[in-house]
């Protein structure tokens, strides 16, 4: 496991785990999450159906060494975001163990927690308090966060007056102001206009260099091959492949092409039936 990570790390790869997941499973009980009404429950009981369960993740075991950068790829709904939620401590695993060594920061979807009636500055303070950052530290970094978000006078206006791009900028600025040991990133790279996207890419790279370990969920395969030294492919809650980024990306693209072909075949069949005369 002593695969070396020359770039982008300043910290060399070590033999120490940053994250270790062992036989991890996350189960959603549809009884609770799909909000069955009492009528549904009774019907199920009468038909002697069990309560349906859904495993978003199952038998997931992997480790991230200190100094490693792990890319997580897979189709939509495969369980990538669930994995990040577990690593961030938001979700509890239903089975298995997750062990994390270090201070975690998660950049999951940006800016969702904003309070519409509060100003940008007030939201920065509130977000800091939610993330558990000490009050003094937030005050200290306030100027830098405001400066980076670059919203001008809007920083004192309520968030409800912001455009979606402005929200994303503020969210990104807050989320990246922390100094984590372990960084979790979920599709955060596609925010804002071209200028800000370039700026944010630089910022993420900077963080990636500082952090001791990174887990990155993305659909941008270039990021995986350029900045990760390992990748895992998740499909339907299971790890399909764990290995070098190039190999994993190749398999993912192969599977994606297959799925596309299957979908296309299905689509043609469905199109054919109602209008037999029309073919592509």
């Amino acid at each position: 496991m002593s695969s070396v990570a020359p770039f982008p790390f300043d910290n060399p790869a070590t033999e120490r785990f940053a994250i270790r997941a062992d036989e991890l499973g996350v189960r959603y009980s549809l009884k609770l999450t799909r909000k069955q009404t009492i009528r549904d429950s009774v019907v199920r009981r009468v038909r002697r159906e069990g309560d349906p369960d859904f495993w978003a993740l199952r038998n997931v075991s992997f480790g991230v060494m200190q100094g490693e950068s792990l890319g997580v790829i897979g189709p939509n709904g495969a369980g990538k975001s669930t994995l990040l939620q577990v690593l961030a401590g938001i979700l509890l695993p239903s089975e298995g163990v997750v062990e994390v060594d270090g201070h975690i920061s998660s950049l999951l979807t940006l800016g969702v927690g904003f309070d519409e009636d509060l100003s940008g500055v007030e939201n920065i303070r509130l977000a800091g308090a939610f993330m558990g950052i000490d009050h003094e530290v937030v005050e200290e970094r306030l100027a830098a966060i405001i400066d980076y978000a670059d919203l001008g006078q809007f920083i004192d206006a309520p968030i409800k007056t912001y455009s979606s791009g402005m929200r994303a900028r503020l969210g990104f600025s807050i989320a990246t102001s922390v100094e984590p040991d372990i960084l979790l990133l979920d599709e955060v790279l596609a925010t804002g206009d071209a200028v800000f996207r370039e700026k944010s890419k630089q910022r993420v790279l900077e963080l990636v260099r500082q952090a001791k370990a990174i887990v990155l969920v993305t659909h941008d395969m270039n990021w995986v091959t350029d900045y990760c030294n390992r990748a895992i492919l998740i499909e339907r809650g299971l790890i399909v492949l764990d290995g070098k980024p190039e190999e994993v990306v190749a398999l993912h693209q192969e599977h994606a092409a297959q799925r596309k072909a299957e979908a296309a075949a299905k689509g043609v069949l469905q199109l054919r039936r109602p209008r037999p005369g029309r073919r592509r």
Binding site: R16, F17, D22, E23, G25, R27, Y28, S29, L32, T33, K35, Q85, A88, G89, I90, L91, L92, P93, S94, E95, G96, V97, V98, E99, V100, D101, G102, H103, I104, S106, L108, T109, V112, G113, D115, D117, L118, E122, R125, L126, A129, F130, M131, G132, H135, P158, D181
Partner: protein
């Protein structure tokens, strides 16, 4: 019982991290269990200790949430925070017109009689409703960051206190300017009675906010039950009136006395309107009950907390 056989003790290089989290759950863990620092399912004492730590370590967050809430309540109105003073006054006015003019009630100094009970009732009413919704409205945030959810109902109830405190301004104005002959030193006991109501409301809000995550029916139901409770409590009529109506009925009479607001509103009215000491016996009993309720509510909340992110 070896529910957490998988969990391994912390040792070796693991223990050198700044923050060490260690979570382990068995196959059957839709029954919430969460482990931040140990591999053992926390017992009631441990849960309570965690809860106290949640609140103390996130005081700043509670303050910000309260500030945000107060700011929001005044937002988008011309009068802004003046509404906190005007609101209870208008409500009192409605009851005075309704009860005094239409139903011809002959209670002396009726506005003061109504106001000293409407104020604490309104506090309970709005604080419970805000508290119940407090967790559910933060659903997106709960799925995005880890934070102790217990701060949410606590912040909602604390922000209600501020509203109540502002309502005391018109109450004192009414008492001192319009009915100075009724003012006595017993008024100074308002904070004591309010403290008992605070603990009671905190318990109710904490318990229901957790249950509301799983069954949103709770908030619908609570709205109607609270309304019912209003009419069964001595707001529009005095405690004596209610006792008089139920008389020595075997079921109703004890029920009336079991209503926390029989004692709370009775005490408020004693110190403000009648110039008498509060209902000490009732208050002490209610304090004990409220503390029990709060402990129970916090335990249930902490037990359910780990599943919030999945269910919301």
């Amino acid at each position: 019982m070896v529910p957490h056989a998988r969990a391994r003790p912390v040792h070796g290089p693991w223990s050198s991290g700044r923050v060490l989290r260690f979570r382990a759950v068995t196959a059957r863990s839709e029954t919430p269990a969460f482990f931040r620092s140990s591999s053992v399912a926390p017992g009631p004492v441990q849960l309570l200790r965690l809860a106290v730590n949640d609140i103390l370590s996130r005081r700043r967050l509670i303050i910000y949430l309260v500030q945000a809430d107060l700011k929001k309540k005044g937002a988008d109105t011309l009068l802004g925070n003046v509404w906190w003073v005007v609101d209870p006054l208008l409500q009192m006015l409605i009851y005075v017109i309704f009860m005094g003019v239409i139903l011809q009630r002959k209670t002396p100094d009726f506005p003061l009689f109504i106001f000293c009970a409407v104020l604490p009732w309104k506090w309970f009413d709005s604080t419970t409703k805000d508290g119940i919704a407090s967790v559910v409205i933060k659903d997106k945030l709960i799925k995005q960051i880890y934070f102790p959810k217990l701060v949410l109902p606590f912040a909602a109830v604390v922000s209600g206190v501020v509203n109540f405190a502002f309502g005391l301004i018109p109450l004192f104005a009414l008492l001192l300017l319009v009915y100075p002959q009724r003012a006595t030193a017993w008024v100074l006991f308002i904070p004591v009675i309010a403290a008992v109501e605070f603990v009671f409301a905190l318990g109710v809000a904490t318990l229901l906010s957790a249950l509301n995550v799983f069954y949103r029916d709770i908030s619908n139901l609570a709205r109607h039950l609270i309304r019912m409770w209003f009419y069964l409590s001595p707001v529009l009529w005095s405690a004596d009136d209610i006792s008089h109506i139920v008389g020595h009925h075997r079921v109703l009479a004890p029920l009336v006395v079991m209503n926390p607001f029989y004692h709370l509103l009775g005490s408020f009215r004693n110190v403000v309107y009648y110039g008498q000491p509060p209902d000490w016996g009732g208050l002490i009993g209610l304090t004990l009950l409220s503390l029990d309720l709060l402990v129970l509510a916090v335990l249930i909340f902490k037990r359910l907390e780990p599943t919030f992110a999945k269910v919301l």
